[in-house]
Symmetry: C2
Subunit: 237 residues, 2 copies
DNA sequence: CATAAAACCTGACATAAGTCAATTAATTCA
DNA sequence: TGAATTAATTGACTTATGTCAGGTTTTATG
């Protein structure tokens, strides 16, 4: 039984429901209703800061539209991007269980729409509905693995390897992997990608140049076409 | 009400109970009993491999004694240490909720004693006892933060900074921080520490040398005395 | 205890990738 | 649309840290 009451008022012209969010996918209509009743839809124009490290923790978000950059700035002003959140991903859910303030910064790098779920209401819900904890545990586990991967890449892989791996990952997410000419569209600035991959923008720039010179990729504006996915896969490992 | 029935048979001469394990600290005696009934105590001599990446997942561990290295080996044979587990830490609990095989390798680097909790029994328990999920979520959250920290350090900090930070962390754990001369005892080989900090052993060696030349630390066998904790703190940030 | 095997240290060297600076390209918005 | 801002590219240069190789010290074991 699928609940098609739209989550979002008409003027957003949105076509998703709570059921599209993995975290909530298997809840009953009852449970979904209680989530809707405590949560709030929020719109963030490009460049909006959602929260900063140290801000009082109020609740977490599920992204419905747009892209959110979750990052940390160190004393010297250098940015480390820990997570590039895309639709249906949850973020800032970790502090639900640890600490009273946001441990990271988050910024909308596209016009974004997110569901805000306040801590209080959600904790009530979770205590009544143990099924939710299990889904959260699964979600945490998945992201844990991703983070472990990121860490491993960072310490054991060189710049071109990391870039190749990132490109492949994006190609897979784009669904064009098996097309004659797979491609990806960059929705985030290169500076964000480089901060995510733990390198200088210059290094990213130069390496993409090199890949292009070697006919592995072809860059056209914000699109990157993959000419030689085999070589790219070689490079990624 | 504290349950002092020893967890471990006498011949282990151990003096801890399930209550000492954060994950289980707030469970009722009933619940503790059911954990004991499904779990199993295992002894691992130094250098034993507990499991390897890809092994069928059977359950997780709580370390009671010794030190376990959790790591990943890449194609080129390079090791990344993700976690140095010390007593009362849980490990290999993530795959409870994700995937059917161990995603990492684990090895005892000291004679170790661990409680093994099989997946089946534990999942039954968790479904009956929602309180446990919440504690697990809290545990995951904490380790998530630690991992984020590790990642951030790796990308934004240089070798001496990372070493300084590690030393401080160990000093805190040692409980000697406020002594006139705080010190730590190295229980893991330097090669493990360097793999954990994402650097070559040679770099670790050289930097400790440098710290010593600058009178920040004094190395004596397996002990490192901190002469100038202030400088070390400076370096760590 | 002696010998083998690990673990650790040290120096010389190579190089990947960071930094700085200047230029060009792409966006933004008045 | 066009000036102003921001993002990306490119080249020249520096340097931190990895790699390799040799030696020393420590630990393990028959």
């Amino acid at each position: 039984m699928k609940d098609r009451n739209p989550l979002v008022p008409n003027y957003f012209k949105s076509e998703f429901t709570l059921r599209d969010i993995p975290l909530f996918a298997e809840l009953s209509i009852q449970q979904l209703r209680s989530i809707t009743s405590v949560s709030e839809l929020k719109h963030f124009p490009k460049h909006t800061i959602l929260f900063r490290e140290g801000d009082l923790y109020l609740g977490f978000y599920v992204l419905l539209k747009g892209v959110i950059k979750v990052f940390k700035v160190n004393k010297q002003g250098k940015e480390t991007v820990l997570h590039i959140v895309r639709p249906f991903g949850a973020f800032a859910d970790i502090p639900l269980f640890e600490g009273g303030s946001y441990p990271l910064d988050a910024e909308a790098i596209e016009d974004s729409l997110a569901l805000f779920i306040p801590k209080e209401g959600f904790m009530d819900l979770i205590s009544k509905e143990p099924e939710i904890s299990l889904r959260m545990l699964a979600g945490f586990a998945k992201r844990f693995k991703a983070l472990v991967n990121q860490l491993e890449d960072m310490t054991s892989k060189e710049v071109p390897n990391r870039i190749a791996k990132y490109l492949l990952q994006r190609v897979r997410a784009s669904g064009t992997e098996n097309l004659p000419e797979p491609f990806i569209k960059l929705t985030v600035p290169k500076s964000t990608i480089s901060a995510y991959l733990g390198m200088a923008t210059e290094s990213l720039s130069r390496t993409l140049r090199k890949f292009q010179d070697e006919n592995i990729i072809r860059v056209s504006g914000k699109k990157i076409f993959i000419n030689d996915i085999k070589r790219l896969k070689e490079l990624a490992k």
